[in-house]
């Protein structure tokens, strides 16, 4: 499961970042932030070819020594980033994909909340719970 899940606004500031509490939070912030470069690169590469029916899932952004970083971009250019442990080999591409889909659905719910002001950080309990379910349970 994921060790860090982040939602980044269109303007590339974090809407939501959650990481496994046992680990260094700062490191994940840096990792996620840096991954945005790759996300942008991928978007710009794909964007020209087929702007409309482009795949939201961006796949593996880059591997680091300890982690793999996956990306996903909604049509409104909100980015989801999931960081998983490299040692976790059981995770297939499909599972990551489904995680992103779940995340996207949950995010859509948040956006549908009439009291949510788009652009604010996400403080939804439901979203939190869903993210927690996807995270590695720190033991």
């Amino acid at each position: 499961m994921a060790v860090c899940i982040a939602v980044i606004a269109k303007e590339n500031y974090p809407l939501y970042i959650r990481s496994v509490p046992t680990q260094n939070e700062l490191k994940f912030h840096y990792t996620v932030h840096t991954s945005l470069d790759v996300v942008e690169e991928k978007i710009s590469a794909v964007g020209k070819a087929m702007a409309d029916q482009r795949e939201l899932y961006l796949g593996l952004l880059y591997p680091t020594e300890d982690y793999k970083v996956y990306g996903y971009v909604t049509n409104s250019k909100v980015k989801f980033v999931i960081v998983v442990d490299s040692s976790n080999t059981s995770l297939r591409d499909n599972e990551i994909r489904s995680m992103f889909r779940k995340l996207h659905n949950s995010f859509t719910d948040v956006m549908c909340n009439p009291f949510y002001n788009p652009g604010d950080t996400i403080q939804s309990k439901a979203f939190d719970g869903m993210v927690s379910a996807m995270m590695v349970q720190a033991s």
Binding site: A9, P14, L26, H33, T34, L36, D37, E41, S44
Partner: protein, 1430 residues
């Protein structure tokens, strides 16, 4: 990768240059010493050839050699540690020194890169990296597997002053031969066994004999050939002579960063430390440093040869402890070199000499070196060609097969190590590599490439990995350097080479070199991504400096990409910064973090931003840039931090520490502190003293205090009250300049004008802090910062500003969300501006006991300020203001100090909190002028004017006891004992009172709004004087809690101040509980006036019955035992209660809980004289005492409250005057009688019986309509329907029939029983008088109709019949209030009971012709008994 000064080609060419060794005789050395240089140094600036050279390749093709550089070095024989792959300590020190000395220029040009929404300021060049690279490459130890940095030639230098130069040359030549071939020394590696020896005769022009030199040179030419020797003439001028001549100093740039020289220094200092073999080495070693001559000539040469090599330290065991000392020495020596450099180089050289040296190098290269290389290439080529045909594999196979060969198997096996095969230096396998290197050095890259390529294959098949990697590396480089039609750059060669170097050979050094080259090449091909990956791969744990530099270069690669990867750049910059700081390169670390900061700043990545800021702060602090440190730390603290509280505490501590150091340095102006936040708009300013609320029995007026919340409705209410009282003080007109007094200014009050403060009265400023952190902050010594401009409003300016104001401060520990209250006391008039706050800030230590914390807090607090800037309200009036965002001024903090004003304090004594409805209580109020200025014009206005009275001033009540202590026994009322004989309630005592006596002159100005002037003696309250006045209170008529607001108004007796008046507020809460409910009804009395013959007046004026129902509705059964009705009084202009006509046994009116009693009174109209005389304004008070004492209702408390109530209800009353029909008709039903019920309640309070008194008012207005002391209005008003339609004007209704039927009152007068002898006389005639009285004030036409008979059969049966005799219809006219009697006769036929009430009276108003007569209400059945008198 950042831009470099050199191009890639230049860089690579310069990385691999032909090496030339120098062996120098001592005398020659002496000659060069004069210029502060040794020989190799002397040559160094001229080592780049400006002209093209030519040589022929083995195929006899002419090859052009351009821009060649040669490297001239002294021979250094220190044994080399076989390239271990890890750089030595000395080398590390050297590199770190090079990097740290090379800093970006202050304010250097930075180019702006725009990527997406980022604008970054990045220094385009990284000279420290280039310096590092250059130094690194130069300090590469010569390796066995490659020949590029092996010496190709050797310069033998002998001075012409030598006695026998030729002999010396011979000696040097032998020396060189010994070094190369004896096997003693492994280190200076030589390219080819027969090294080119080039003989240089150095001639000192200033000393030697030129002819001799020439002749020696001729001799040399003979001996070594013209190609192999040179006469170099230098030192054309004396040092002293040419001091004034400016000669360019080309050495400075070379020597300044001269690696060799500084290496020498390190070695020297290191050897001093190492102290093992140092004695020998040091005696004559490095004479240029020691500055003295060695006595042993031979030794000196040896020593200078083997004196220095960078890798010396590895042999001498170094301890970690010596490292610091070493660095210290290094710094010293560096200083020493700097000083040496200041003494300029080449002082004895003229420009001519420079040219000569340049020419010498050219000559040497073209005549000596290049032909030598050419020859060797040819030789090697021949060897290789001779071996052609044999396949490489066959060759090696045969080698293995026949065993013997040139290289013994055994040695190969021995030399095998982890990195594969090691060849002996002269192994044939290396020949091709040697040739490749030679070709490479002379820029014949095509040939070089093919050789490298072949060599690579050979080495690989031999599993000689190190060699293979070297060949791969060089193959790639030469492929890249090939001009013309180049083959694609084989990047994978490089990758393989790096990997082999690193993983197989464990030689980081070579791997690094390879990576540097490769990265530079990739960069030149715009393959930034690959270059970055390569560089990042090269970072490792073992060397921080290298990792840092490489990461930084990688970061530059990211930013230079076609789509710049800004975030990657930033991230790698941070990594680089981290490594720099680990490597001790603080400056570089700081620079890296600062560059990365540009990306993270303000993008919402607060955690990362905080981290960077924190690091920047720390680094800046260690670099003695405390200002930057403070600002960085401030950033962490001012942002809404999401850090954990422990982290915040650490930030805060660090910040305070740094801050303290900064302020310690410069304490000119107090710096701004970022913490805690000041919610400046919530700042409140209070003018005046703080109130003491209670003082013993006294209860001070509540006024305004800072503890109250601002309430808009309340403020509006107070403003209304003030407006009322100001209007009344100014004869009903509110002045145009009127402004409500504001004692406490906050964000919601009107702060447009400068507030006025009075001198010697404090100004209290409440500042609201907010602590954004999760850790507590300790504030101490908080005080206000202010500016004061002296302005005297009465006199010309004189006094100094200095001590115009005094401080008094409050100390406070900040809990989040709490404010501090600070007080200023102005002593002089002028303009005050409150600017900000000064305070000490400290953090509470997270650990440790209280004792520790107090001392620690003392240590770590810093003093700083924060400005208070209040933004005014957003303006939204005009269109411009609506479209733009502009704010109005807010002058809360800029009070004007005005001359002294009176200051009133009001105290209340015995002021109750709970009252029964209608209860009368006497309290006392004390007015106290606490200022130094007399006070006048004291007034009070209240929201409930009928709640209290000060009594009427004209009717002073001497009978009322003044002492408050006697209150409990005494009534608040003025009483008179009733005469003992009189029966209670018999006849009312009557008093006439004018309303004007109670301050309620009808039609007088402003009486109805509840403003009361306070009856002060002589109307002025002198300074320090106080007055006590009685105050009567009456419980409100409705139960519940009532908020009653008083506003006391006063003025200064001295007019013309800036402040026209002052006010004092007071709010009380009175809890009213139910007492009695009084309902009263008035009925027309039908009694005949005749019967009351004794009172003639009333016959004409009529009378009325008043029924008073009194109900005890008190719910507090335990407390209130019973109510007594003490007295019932009436007050009216026309009526008065006359007597009580209750049944006699009901005299004492006690009402227990929920009991109800009924009282019956007769009221009579007053004499017309009274009603019509001048005293029409007068009210008649009639007291009907039911107890044994009479309360004089016409005096102060009772009448006061009556009139106050009246004044309120009057507004709603019908505006009389219009003599129209309706009112006329209504008039006759109006009574306008007020009943005052005075009661006593027996209340048990604390086991004591207390008698409470009270009064209730009922206003009777219409006959027959019930009036109640409790108005039921409230419930109806609870929910008012909103009406949007305009209310229709009340229609001009005709008076209703019911009303019209009351115009005439009729009365029949007859004997009750009449005896008549029917036997004697069958007809019985009875005289009956019909009295008609006109109730109205108009003339009325009356028709009396007697004809009519009762038609109902019922009445026939009961009464039988009788007839009226005589005239059966009368037409009369009655004047206003006229009483007329009409004699009638009734005729009866039988005895019996008859109803005489059959006459029907019709009336109409005389002047209303059109109207038909209305039947008048008949009186009650008038029964007459006719008795048959027998």
């Amino acid at each position: 990768m950042a831009q470099c000064v050199q191009s890639v080609h230049e860089f690579i060419q310069d990385s691999f240059v032909p090496m030339v060794a120098v062996l120098c005789s001592e005398d020659a050395e002496k000659v060069t010493r004069k210029n502060n240089l040794n020989f190799s140094e002397l040559l160094r600036p001229f080592c780049r050839l400006t002209s093209e050279g030519h040589m022929r390749d083995p195929n006899n093709q002419v090859q052009v050699v351009k821009n060649l550089r040669i490297s001239v070095n002294n021979v250094v024989t220190r044994p080399s540690v076989p390239a271990s792959g890890t750089p030595s300590l000395a080398q590390r020190l050297l590199l770190s020194e090079v990097v740290s000395t090379c800093q970006p220029a202050e304010g250097g040009v930075a180019n702006v890169i725009t990527a997406g929404d980022y604008d970054l300021n990045i220094s385009a060049t990284t000279p420290w990296f280039e310096a590092y690279r250059e130094t690194f490459l130069q300090s590469m130890p010569a390796a066995d597997h490659e020949f590029l940095n092996h010496y190709l030639a050797c310069l033998l230098v002998v001075s012409s002053s030598e006695a026998v130069p030729v002999e010396k040359f011979l000696k040097l030549s032998q020396e060189q031969h010994r070094i190369q071939h004896s096997g003693e020394y492994t280190n200076p590696k030589w390219f080819i066994p027969n090294t080119l020896k080039y003989y240089v005769l150095l001639h000192d022009m200033s000393q030697g004999d030129e002819h001799r030199a020439d002749s020696v040179y001729e001799d040399m030419k003979q001996r070594y050939g013209a190609q192999g020797c040179y006469l170099l003439k230098v030192n054309s001028r004396t040092a002293a002579a040419g001091a004034d001549e400016q000669i360019p100093d080309p050495w400075s740039q070379y020597l300044h960063k001269s690696s060799l020289q500084s290496q020498d220094h390190y070695e020297e200092s290191a050897s001093v430390l190492a102290n093992n073999t140092a004695v020998e080495n040091n005696v004559g070693g490095t004479p240029e440093l020691d500055g003295h001559h060695s006595e042993e000539r031979d030794g000196s040469l040896v020593n200078s040869l083997d004196s220095t090599h960078p890798l010396q330290l590895d042999t001498s065991g170094d301890t970690p402890g010596s490292l610091d000392a070493l660095r210290a020495v290094a710094v010293e020596t560096k200083a020493g070199t700097a000083a040496a450099a200041a003494a300029s180089h080449g002082a004895c050289l003229t420009l001519n000499d420079h040219d000569r040296i340049r020419q010498f190098i050219q000559e040497f290269t073209f005549r000596g070196l290049l032909p030598h290389i050419e020859k060797n290439i040819r030789q090697l080529n021949d060897q290789l060609v001779s071996r052609k045909g044999l396949s490489r594999s066959l060759f090696s196979a045969t080698k293995k097969w026949f065993g013997g060969g040139k290289v013994p198997e055994k040695s190969i096996a021995e030399l095998k190590n982890t990195s594969g095969l090691l060849y002996p230096p002269e192994a044939p396998e290396l020949q091709i590599r040697k040739m490749a290197d030679l070709c490479f050095l002379v820029q014949h890259y095509e040939l070089a490439y093919s050789c490298y390529h072949t060599a690579k294959k050979d080495f690989l098949s031999d599993q000689a990995m190190l060699y293979a990697a070297g060949a791969l590396e060089m193959a790639a480089v030469s492929a890249f350097l090939q001009g013309g039609a180049p083959r694609p750059y084989p990047a994978h060669y490089m990758d393989t080479a790096i990997q082999t170097y690193r993983d197989v050979c464990k030689n980081m050094h070579l791997a690094e070199r390879c990576a540097l080259l490769s990265a530079e090449i990739l960069k030149s091909q715009a393959k930034f991504s690959d270059a970055a990956t390569l560089l990042i791969k090269m970072t490792s744990e073992d060397c921080d400096l290298r990792s840092a530099l490489l990461l930084e270069q990688a970061a530059h690669c990211f930013i230079n990409m076609r789509n710049p990867m800004v975030r990657k750049f930033a991230f790698h910059m941070i990594l680089a910064g981290h490594r720099f700081s680990k490597a001790g390169q603080k400056r570089h670390a700081l620079r890296c973090y600062c560059q990365a900061m540009q990306v993270y700043k303000g993008k919402g990545w607060s955690l990362a931003e905080d981290h960077i800021n924190f690091t920047i702060g720390r680094q800046s602090f260690t670099l003695r840039q405390p200002e930057n440190a403070v600002s960085a730390f401030r950033h962490i603290l001012t942002n809404e931090s999401q850090q954990a509280s422990s982290q915040q505490a650490a930030f805060l501590r660090e910040y305070l520490y740094v801050y303290k150091n900064v302020t310690g340095v410069c304490d000119v102006a107090l710096p701004q502190l970022p913490l805690p936040y000041i919610n400046s708009s919530a700042t409140r300013v209070y003018f005046g003293h703080e109130r003491r609320l209670a003082e013993g029995e006294k209860q001070a007026a509540t006024h305004v205090s800072l503890d109250q919340e601002f309430d808009r409705d309340l403020a509006a209410m107070w403003r209304d009250l003030e407006e009322q009282v100001v209007a009344s003080a100014n004869r009903g007109v509110v002045p145009a300049t009127f402004q409500a007094t504001q004692c406490c200014l906050n964000s919601q009050t009107d702060n447009l004008r400068f507030p006025l403060a009075v001198v010697e009265e404090p100004i209290i400023v409440e500042v609201v802090f907010r602590n954004p952190l999760k850790v507590p902050l300790v504030l101490s010594d908080v005080s206000l910062l202010w500016k004061f401009t002296l302005k005297d409003f009465s006199r010309p300016q004189d006094a100094a500003v200095g001590d115009a104001l005094a401080f008094s401060n409050e100390k406070e520990t900040l809990v989040p969300g709490v404010g501090a209250r600070l007080k200023l006391l102005p002593h002089q008039t002028g303009q005050l501006n409150i600017l900000g706050l000064v305070y000490n800030l400290a953090s509470t230590p997270s650990t440790g006991g209280t004792t520790v914390s107090s001392s620690a807090a003392l240590k770590s607090d810093v003093r700083g300020r924060q400005d208070l800037e209040i933004q005014g309200p957003r303006l939204n009036q005009t269109k411009e203001e609506k479209t733009s965002v502009s704010h109005g001024p807010d002058r809360r903090l800029d009070p004007t100090i005005t001359p002294p004003m009176p200051l009133l304090e009001v105290f209340f004594l015995q002021f109750p909190t709970a009252l029964l409805c209608g209860e009368i209580r006497k309290a006392y109020v004390e007015f106290c002028n606490v200022s130094g200025v007399p006070l006048c014009g004291l007034r009070v206005v209240s929201t409930h004017p009928d709640f209290f009275t000060f009594g009427s001033s004209s009717l002073a009540t001497p009978l009322t006891p003044l002492s408050p202590t006697s209150f409990e026994n005494c009534s608040a009322y003025k009483t008179l004992a009733t005469p003992p004989g009189a029966t209670p309630g018999s006849v009312a005592a009557v008093t006439l009172v004018s309303a004007g006596d109670f301050g309620l002159g009808e039609g007088g100005s402003g009486t109805s709004n509840g403003v009361a002037e306070i009856p002060l003696e002589d109307r002025v309250l002198k300074p320090g004087q106080s007055t006590q006045l009685p105050l009567w209170l009456r419980g409100p008529d409705h139960e519940g809690v009532h908020e009653i607001n008083f506003l006391f108004y006063y003025e200064s007796a001295v007019k013309g101040g800036k402040i026209s008046h002052r006010v004092l507020r007071h709010t009380v809460f009175i809890c009213a509980s139910r007492s009695l409910c009084v309902r009263a009804t008035a009925c027309r009395s039908n009694t005949l006036p005749e019967e009351e013959a004794e009172e003639e007046d009333e016959r004409r004026n009529g009378s009325m019955l008043v029924f008073v129902d009194v109900e005890n509705i008190n719910t507090n059964e335990a407390g209130v035992r019973e109510f007594h009705i003490a007295q019932v009084s009436s007050s009216s202009k026309q009526w008065r209660l006359h007597r009580c006509i209750n049944p006699a046994e009901d005299k004492d009116c006690k009402l227990n809980s929920r009991e109800r009693g009924k009282l019956c009174f007769r009221a009579t109209r007053c004499k017309p004289v009274q009603a019509t005389s001048a005293a029409i304004e007068k009210y008649i008070f009639a007291d009907l005492s039911l107890g044994n004492e009479q309360i004089i209702s016409s005096t102060t408390p009772c009448a006061d409250f009556f009139f106050r109530r009246l004044s309120r209800s009057q507004g709603a009353g019908p505006g009389g005057g219009a003599e129209d029909l309706t009112s006329l008709v209504r008039k006759c039903n109006e009574v306008d009688l007020d009943i005052i019920v005075l009661w006593k309640a027996f209340v048990v309070e604390d086991n004591k019986q207390v008698i409470l008194e009270g009064q209730l008012h009922v206003a009777l207005q219409t006959i027959g309509k019930e009036a109640c002391s409790l108005t039921q209005k409230e419930e109806a008003q609870e929910m008012v329907l909103l009406k949007f339609k305009p209310e229709l004007p009340p229609p001009m209704t005709r008076p209703s029939m019911e009303q019209l039927s009351h115009l005439i009152k009729t009365n029949l007068h007859y004997p009750e029983s009449y005896r008549h002898p029917f036997i004697h006389k069958s007809l019985c005639l009875v005289p009956v008088t019909l009295t008609l009285s006109n109730c109205s004030l108009a003339q009325v036409d009356v028709i009396i109709d007697l004809r009519h008979k009762t038609t109902s059969p019922e009445s026939l049966e009961v009464h039988g019949s009788f007839t009226w005799l005589g005239q059966t219809q009368y037409k009369l006219q009655l004047r206003a209030q006229e009483v007329m009697r009409v004699p009638l006769r009734a005729c009866f036929l039988h005895a019996g009971v008859y109803n005489l009430g059959t006459p029907r009276v019709f009336a109409k108003l005389a002047d209303q012709g059109a109207m038909c007569e209305t039947s008048q209400q008949t009186a009650t059945p008038a029964l007459i008994i006719i008795i048959n008198d027998t």
